[in-house]
Amino acid sequence: MRKIKVGFAFLFLLLLFCFVFMGRGEVNGDLRLDGPSSSHIFGCDTLGRDLFQRVCFASVVSIALSVFVSSSSVMISSLFAILSFRNKTIKTILLTLVSAFKSIPTVLVGLLFASFFGGNVYSVTTALMISCTFSSFRVLETKVKEIEGEEYITALDALGLKKGRIIFFHILPSLFSMAREEWATTMMTSILSESALSFLGIGIDRSIPTLGALLSEARSLFFTKPHLLLFPSLFLVMIGVLVMIIKSGLSELDPSSH
């Protein structure tokens, strides 16, 4: 429990901190590629914009996008998992789709969408959501199947409870612990995939700084100007570590995983 509290508290603090200081930075030719100084603590980028503001902006974008993607895809996949409870047709259809999507890596779905609809927020989000929904459905469906075999479900059947009641009062609570763990896993995947996509230049719009885009800017200059690479990657790793802490805390909380 402590881990979860610490993880969420620090993630929230980081988000708040970034939210206060975020900005796109102003173009200033005199400050191009300046190193860290007292007025610009992270230094300046290729156009003389303040890197600190941009890194904060990028972190907010990264966290917000991944929270959105993971929350919505876990919700959708939980819904699918519940729908597939004792419904063979839906289950077969969804599992076939899952096995088909398993063979396309997340980044490739992103590339496919970017080539069709251009690299913008919508295509990246949709691609990530599709990929994540199917991968978490696989996990949640296994869990539902496991719960289905439990004795208390048989007992509820014997008591004559309706299917809807079993789902809402007995399956959903048991599924919840798995769903929140899956939420953290999906968040990790979406942060990494989104930053990979924007590193390749096909992520979110160029006018919005993202951690991947900042790193891809820094790539060609990183031997001479290491600060351009250091600070964005520091924030990226920091977010990743916090999500990882939350994830491990959530998995320790789950009584059935021991």
Binding site: T96, L97, S99, A100, K102, S103, I104, P105, T106, V107, L108, L111, L112, A114, S115, F116, F117, G118, G119, M188, L192, S195, A196, F199, L200, G201, I202, G212, L215, S216, R219, F222, F223, L229, S233, L236, V237, G240, V241, M244, S248
Partner: protein, 317 residues
């Protein structure tokens, strides 16, 4: 057994069908009708009609899908925006990505089995923690960051490996291997994050089995025990891990091939996506999906072969 194999193959074909349907649907949805941008705005309805007739756009959707599939299997994949044959480009580039994923899986297998072996040998209290922390670190580090760090250490400071570029196997194996060493090392760190954890759990499980105690009490050396009597039960897990790694290798290769300037499928797809060459990217995705699902099929069949328990479980149902 035969029933199981047929079922697996059927589900493989189903996967291919769904992927092709998905790609076909998105190509036709996004491109709409190619007449709208091939012909000018002032083209008369007659000209448009004639163009549509010639390209087969007037046929119904099933026929168009059928034609798409047939031309895919005839390796007639059309041309890229630059005018090259897509089939030829992919055939040229596929060996790079395949050898990259081969080396990376080799590295990660060696790497993670060594780590798991030594943590299990030492029998510490917190051995599980060591594994989970290491695997989290490898997972968190994004591939592009690891690759840049490795380039900094191995190419710039130690000058052991080239910074980027690809040398074909024909031009000498050593230089080929050297050119792919750093990319595959980067990719292997990503794989080992998952491999390590799952290998550890599988080995730990079989070490806790009663037969391990029997072997120990009969005087088997611990080293041999870990290697001989625990490896075989965890073989199916290993096959699954390798096939999963091949899938993630194709995803990771997009970034890595870009960083190291390797002429593989990944960098081809990125280039295609940047140029918005939908047909190139969708064909690439289809080829990758076919390869990956084929690998899944083979690994499923192999793990059935290696593990009689799985076969029996199937016969029971």
């Amino acid at each position: 057994m035969a029933g199981r194999i047929t079922r697996r193959i059927l589900s493989f074909l189903m996967t291919l069908f769904i992927v092709s349907l998905f790609v076909f649907a998105s190509v036709s949805l996004s491109l709409g009708d190619s007449s709208s941008f091939v012909l000018s705005d002032e083209a008369s309805t007659l000209v448009i009609e004639r163009y549509r007739e010639a390209k087969g756009l007037n046929d119904n959707i099933f026929l168009r899908y059928l034609r798409f599939i047939i031309s895919f299997f005839k390796l007639d994949w059309g041309k890229t925006i630059g005018g090259e044959e897509i089939g030829k480009v992919i055939v040229n580039r596929l060996p790079v990505t395949l050898s990259l994923s081969f080396y990376s899986i080799l590295f990660s297998t060696i790497f993670s089995s060594l780590i798991v072996f030594f943590t299990l040998r030492r029998r510490r209290q917190n051995e599980g923690k060591v594994i989970s922390v290491l695997s989290s670190v490898f997972l968190i580090l994004p591939t592009f960051l690891t690759s840049l760090i490795l380039v900094l250490i191995f190419s710039l400071w130690l000058k052991l490996f080239p910074i980027s570029g690809y040398i074909r196997i024909k031009d000498g194996f050593i230089s080929h291997f050297r050119s792919l060493f750093l990319p595959s090392l980067t990719l292997s760190l990503l794989h080992s994050s998952i491999m390590m954890r799952i290998m550890y759990v599988a080995l730990k499980e079989s070490l806790n089995m009663p037969y391990t105690n029997t072997a120990l009490s009969k005087g088997m050396k611990e080293n041999r025990l870990v290697i001989s009597s625990s490896l075989k039960p965890s073989l199916p897990v290993f096959f699954t891990l390798v096939s999963d790694s091949i899938a993630s290798a194709f995803g990771g290769s997009c970034v890595i091939e870009n960083v190291f300037a390797l002429p593989g499928i990944g960098s081809l797809m990125v280039k295609g996506a940047l140029e918005r060459d939908a047909s190139l990217v969708s064909i690439c995705v289809m080829v990758v999906a076919f390869l990956v699902s084929f690998v899944f099929l083979v690994s499923d069949l192999l793990s059935d072969l290696a593990d009689p328990r799985r076969r029996r479980a199937y016969e029971k149902n």
